[in-house]
Amino acid sequence: MAWQSLDIQRRSATTTPMPGARQGNEVAKLIDISQCIGCKACQVACMEWNDLRSAVGACTGVYDNPLDLDSNAWTVMRFTEMENNGRLEWLIRKDGCMHCQDPGCLKACPAPGAIVQYTNGIVEFHQEHCIGCGYCVTGCPFNIPRLSEKDHKAYKCSLCSDRVAVGQSPACVKTCPTGALHFGSKEAMKDHADHRIADLKSRGFQNAGLYDPPGVGGTHVMYVLQHADHPEWYSGLPQDPKISPWIGIWKGLAKPLAIGTMAAISLASLFHYIIKGPNAISKETEKEVEDETRS
């Protein structure tokens, strides 16, 4: 691989090991929800750096805009207003790819090399290899990838792998005016989160905590949540995300079983033929039929 920072540790639809001599340093983005003011500077920075322009939407009476992720909107702020112990809370979550350590999208993808995971943990789509089947959408436990209406390829946040490769932080992190977004090694981000969580606890948020869900092997985008016991309050962040067991069967057991069965039937047919010989009409039967027909 040309750059150590872009060494690949996983590649979709590839059954042999990736080059593994070098050890990558895992990176992570930390999103501190308690410090986010919902200004959407990160959305703008994402559009700008990645040269993406989603269609201009309409006002629907909520702050969310665009309303959902799409092939040109790789991150969106999701706003939730809720009352907690008589206090209004505005929970604002920056939604986007979580860069799972065990990515369901990559597991489901049938096209070799369309999805890769670098040794630093970033999961990236390579659209030139994408065939547009949408299996990544089926595989993702966070409902992140989007098929483009225009070219039928799948898109999502790249964690600015191009910037990270040259030692820069992702565009969103660079832009955030309040310091709610942080980027660095996964260890450093966890340490920073510990400080933030201790601070939040001292301010009365007893259940503050880090969101780094173990069901997907941890993620390279983590949240500091004021209410870590209720991630679902944050616009439906899953409580315990896992790759669906159906995906496990489909991409696991089904493959060897099906290929083994097909191979066994072909071989059994061949050997049956050469052991038992063809099932041909005997001379006697032919003769009997001739006699019958004539009579």
Binding site: I249, A258, I265, E288, E292
Partner: protein
């Protein structure tokens, strides 16, 4: 084509056309589907223009196969009703596979195995059709839980169907004189008497002698 004035008609031209339509579209759907099933089958993308074309075309091959098969069902289902003799025949299929089919229970136009295959393929086609539509993101948007389930159903049923079709094709190669029924529509009298004696008697009025 009659190669001999005594040959018996087994399939009309229309029946042969619909069967080949099902067969060809099944093979195309199978080859293009396998590409998406496992990277070991990736070379099949060469048959369809590119990997993206393979993905685009597969559901259309599948739809064609399903529609043709359903049409064939309307045509053939009556002939495939299972009777007690068919189950008896299936109970003794071991003898058939072993190559001594002389004492098998007498069979009409189709034997128990062919009939069972027909019904299994019909169920499989319906399952592939419904699960395939759920997977078809170019046109449909189903809830993701249903798509996940459909993916398992579609790939499992496809594997079973491919297995059944391999057995079906092998049987026609193994039993000499069978393939011409699908080429020319006719079979020899001896073939009919040996493999489908009840049918032979029904259409010729002959062959009442005891099987040896």
């Amino acid at each position: 084509m009659r190669r001999d004035p005594n040959d018996l008609d087994r399939y009309t031209a229309g029946e042969r056309v619909i069967h080949w339509t099902v067969g060809i579209s099944f093979i195309l759907a199978g080859l293009s589907g396998l590409v998406l099933f496992h990277p070991a089958f990736w070379p099949f993308t060469l048959l369809f223009g590119s990997s993206t074309w393979t993905r685009i075309l597969h559901p259309y091959f599948g739809m064609l196969m399903a529609l043709a098969f359903l049409l064939m069902t309307v045509w053939f289902w009556r002939l495939n009703r299972m009777s007690r003799v068919d189950w008896q025949w299936l109970g003794r299929i071991g003898e058939m596979v072993n190559g001594d089919d002389q004492n098998m229970p007498e069979q009409g136009k189709y034997n128990g195995g062919q009939k069972l295959l027909f019904w299994l393929l019909l169920i499989g086609t319906l399952l592939l059709l419904f699960s395939g539509i759920a997977l078809w993101r170019a046109w449909f948007h189903f809830p993701v839980d249903q798509v996940r389930f459909a993916a398992v159903v579609h790939s499992a049923v496809a594997a079973v169907m491919i297995g059944l079709i391999m057995v079906h094709v092998y049987a026609s190669i193994w039993v000499k004189g069978t393939i011409r029924a699908m080429w020319y529509g006719t079979v020899t009298r001896a073939w009919a008497r040996q493999h489908h004696r009840a049918w032979y008697r029904q259409i010729t009025g002959l062959g009442n002698g005891q099987p040896r």
